[in-house]
């Protein structure tokens, strides 16, 4: 095991705390991925790892390389910005695809359609959407 050397004690304590916090949060998110029951609950769980978990780990990495190389090392910000921009987009795409698939198969525990006014339904709404709302 290679030992990280020439690091002051305060920096080691802070880096160790951030590393443990980030890994623990990622583990909690993954446990939620196993334990929660429906897909729409499970899609929330791994975002704990993609926001706070990877954030704490990248802060620890930035502090470690800044102290050991005696210059500001900030390129971990790139991963943080990229992950925090792309995770909502990809999980929104995935949740919408799952919602589309569940509604097409007329499953009973699908969340209902959000905007559906009954007056417009009587005049000329989509009949297939209305049937799904009544089923759910």
């Amino acid at each position: 095991m290679m030992q990280p050397t020439d690091l002051p004690a305060w920096a080691e304590v802070v880096v160790a705390l951030f590393v443990l916090a980030g890994a623990g949060l990622t583990l909690i998110g993954a446990l939620g991925l196993v334990r929660l029951r429906t897909f729409y609950e499970r899609v929330h769980a791994p975002t704990l790892g993609t926001t706070l978990g990877i954030g704490c780990l990248l802060l620890a990495s930035m502090l470690f390389f800044t102290v050991t190389q005696a210059r500001p090392v900030l390129h971990e910000v790139l991963i943080g910005v990229f992950i925090s921009l792309t995770t909502p987009v990809s999980l929104m795409l995935l949740a919408r695809a799952a919602l589309y698939r569940d509604r097409r198969e007329h499953l009973s525990d699908v969340p209902p359609l959000p905007v559906y006014v009954p007056d417009e339904a009587a005049s000329g709404g989509d009949v297939s959407d209305r049937k799904i709302v009544d089923a759910g």
């Binding site: 095991m1 290679m2 030992q3 990280p4 050397t5 690091l7 004690a9 080691e12 304590v13 880096v15 160790a16 705390l17 590393v19 443990l20 980030g22 890994a23 623990g24 990622t26 583990l27 998110g29 993954a30 446990l31 991925l33 196993v34 897909f39 499970r42 899609v43 769980a45 791994p46 790892g49 993609t50 978990g53 990877i54 780990l57 990248l58 620890a60 990495s61 470690f64 390389f65 050991t68 090392v73 390129h75 971990e76 790139l78 991963i79 990229f82 992950i83 792309t86 995770t87 987009v89 990809s90 999980l91 795409l93 995935l94 919408r96 695809a97 799952a98 589309y100 698939r101």
Partner: protein
């Protein structure tokens, strides 16, 4: 003294991230529907990226940073492509 603190905490963090990857792999193998498997894949690559960052701190080399960045880029593309496939039935229309 404190160097052993950092190395032990990094070891504990790597064990926790390995358990997180195991949970994601369980969801990939077990998941009742296809979207659960895609969600497990998403969580799996995030955990792998965290694990690469901890390897970078342990070995004090910035080489692992590029690997983590490549995983982040390709993971987003793969999750978006899988979601598009589940929605439409084909990736490129």
């Amino acid at each position: 003294m404190t160097s052993t603190l950092l190395s032990w905490s990094i070891l504990a963090a790597q064990i926790m991230l390995g358990l997180a990857m195991a949970c994601s792999a369980f969801r990939i193998l077990q998941g009742p529907r296809a979207q659960d498997r895609v969600l497990g894949l998403d969580a799996l690559y995030v955990s792998a990226m965290c694990l690469l960052v901890t390897f970078g701190i342990r070995t004090a080399s910035t080489l692992y940073f590029e690997a983590a960045l490549v995983i982040a880029l390709l993971g987003f593309v793969s999750t978006a492509a899988c979601a598009k496939f589940l929605m439409r039935g084909e990736v490129i229309e």
